[in-house]
């Protein structure tokens, strides 16, 4: 399994994760080790095996589409890092 620093940079960008140069170096080595170890699962033949995404027989939980009283909007806005006019503020995304 070849994990290069470029792979690590590429994946960190996908994950929107800032990592330092030291972490980049460390993760290159550690992820290569871990991925080499998990290769073990490739020994098994699984062509006709269904995946288990969910372990219990509970499917399609739905509810009626009714308006209900939720938690106070203010309570959520109070814990946000930056709020203006009752809305979350993010840096400008359209030039």
């Amino acid at each position: 399994m070849s994990i290069t620093r470029e792979t690590v940079r590429y994946v960190a960008n996908l994950a929107r994760l800032g990592i330092s140069n030291d972490e980049e170096e460390l993760f290159t080595k550690q992820l290569a080790n871990i991925l080499e170890y998990v290769q073990k699962i490739k020994q098994l033949e699984t062509t006709n095996i269904e995946p288990t995404f969910h372990t219990i027989d509970v499917y399609n939980i739905t509810r009626n589409d009714e308006v209900k009283q939720g938690i106070d909007r203010e309570k959520y806005l109070n814990i946000a890092p930056l709020v203006k006019d009752g809305q979350f503020v993010v840096p400008k995304i359209i030039e």
């Binding site: 960190a12 994950a15 992820l31 871990i34 288990t52 993010v90």
Partner: protein
């Protein structure tokens, strides 16, 4: 009072031989006196109730009380609602004594990954308490609370319970609501009790297990009266011993203590059969692909917009990246990286999907075994507690300390860890009892009858014996 289980405290309060305020004060004083020795609690804000004290792992939301997941990204986060389990505890009038330490976002096996401080094992302060629910297990072992809640994604209740010499139950997936539990691996996570006795685990499970419309994975229908199943009778019970769990690398004392416990259960009327769970060796690799994939998705919510830490930057992507760089610790970043890689274009089929198929084989092993036996008994961990710092630089060796607990989460079934003696250095050994889905009554009954005939679960580390 220190030697009383939660059940015994409740009985004394009901008889009015002590009152609840005395009990609460007693434990408050113990926390004030001893917590600094082991750092079991992140905060000790008491949430008023008029009943027996309890500790709550700090990845479970408590309205109005800081909930950090031991992460810098959630430092100062005050949840606007209670987790369903917390709501149920409040309705039952429990007194929440504080929030317990954990590996950041429950990712780890030693509680060394907490961003704040390391929790120590009450049996020997140079050793880890296990993890990720290390704070809850250490708090119960040191009798800073008579019981606590933990969460278990790959062994995070059972392994610390084993390392700290207490009882820990991972319920069937879907039995206890996860609403308000900060999500790590959503197809694996369950909340469960960490207690002195199996009876207390049954009692606490009765309180927290319920159908919850706010958790779409919650199993519909009523829950059982688990304490009523503890009738002290295991005549004819069939115990399976899987050969894959008694392999090279398991410590001699651990193996001997577990085999002694099995002999005792035989003398109480159980029969023993050797079985095989042939895909056991694939459980750790499957887990570290599935759990990290789910974690990378779940943790995308920590982006500096709605709550938690935010590092201001000129554009949105830079703000996300800097917030997450500053907020997440090393292990969390490593798992986000691994999970993102496993889900990324070109690797999804080879890693994530393949792992979910192998997971079916692991689950099938259990289904086949439970046609022959009622419960499966194994060591909870191949070793007793290890030294602080011993595995911190080698993620893979840390992951392998969960080798005996992970399969249970992958299969969605319940298991309990109970103390079954000590090794030569006086560190506790844990015994794991695994049952089929929704067999909590059976595994609790086996744990209970073992505890009726042994005293390991009543042992208290001598530093904490006062009072």
């Amino acid at each position: 009072m220190i030697d009383k289980s939660a059940k015994e405290l409740i009985e004394e309060i009901d008889k009015k031989s002590i009152n609840a305020k005395e009990v609460i004060n007693f434990y408050k004083q113990r926390i004030d006196k001893h917590n600094s020795l082991i750092n079991a609690f992140i905060n000790t804000t008491i949430i008023d109730g008029d009943g027996v004290p309890i500790g709550i792992k700090d990845n479970i939301c408590t309205e109005g009380v800081e909930t950090t997941c031991a992460s810098k990204i959630l430092k100062g986060f005050i949840p606007p609602y209670d987790a369903t389990v917390v709501k149920l505890l409040k309705e039952a009038d429990f007194t929440i004594m504080g929030k317990t330490n954990l590996d950041e976002f429950a990712m780890g096996s030693s509680t060394e990954n907490s961003s704040f401080f390391i929790t120590k094992n009450p049996w020997n302060l140079d050793y880890v308490p296990g993890g990720s629910s290390g704070g809850s297990a250490a708090a119960v072992a040191a009798r800073l609370v008579p019981w606590a809640l933990g969460s278990d994604t790959g062994g995070s209740i059972r392994q610390p319970a084993a390392f700290c010499g207490v009882t820990g139950l991972k319920p069937t997936y879907g039995l206890v609501s996860r609403f308000g539990l900060v999500a790590f691996g959503s197809s694996l996570d369950q909340i469960g009790p960490i207690t002195i006795t199996a009876y207390d685990a049954a009692l606490l499970l009765e309180i927290i297990a319920s159908y919850d419309k706010n958790d779409s994975t919650s199993i519909p229908g009523n829950r059982r009266k688990y304490t009523q199943a503890l009738n002290g009778d295991i005549k004819g019970l069939k115990i399976g011993i899987p050969k894959e769990y008694f392999i090279e690398g398991i410590e001699k004392d651990v193996k001997e203590r577990v085999l002694e416990a099995i002999e005792l259960l035989k003398s109480l009327g159980a029969t023993v059969e050797n079985i095989s769970l042939p895909h056991t060796e694939y459980a750790v690799p499957v887990y570290y692909l599935v759990a990290t994939a789910e974690a990378s998705s779940n943790l995308s919510r920590f982006d500096g917009v709605q709550y938690g830490l935010r590092i201001e930057k000129e554009n949105l992507i830079a703000m996300y990246k800097e917030t997450r760089r500053a907020g997440f610790g090393s292990e969390v970043k490593r798992r986000i990286m691994l999970g993102t890689y496993a889900l990324s274009s070109g690797y999804y089929d080879a890693y994530y999907l393949k792992a979910q198929k192998v997971r079916s084989l692991i689950k099938q092993d259990f289904l086949e075994s439970f046609k022959k036996v009622d419960v499966i008994i194994t060591p909870t961990s191949p070793t007793v507690a290890f030294k602080i710092g011993e595995k911190v630089d080698d993620p893979l060796s840390m992951y392998l300390s969960d080798i005996f607990t992970i399969s249970v989460n992958l299969a969605g079934i319940p298991a309990i860890s109970i103390p079954c003696g000590f090794d030569k250095n006086n560190l506790p050994v844990g015994l794991q009892i695994i049952g089929p889905a929704l067999s909590e009554e059976i595994i609790l009954k086996v744990a209970d009858i073992y505890q009726r005939n042994t005293n390991w679960h009543r042992m208290i580390p001598k530093t904490f014996l006062d009072g």
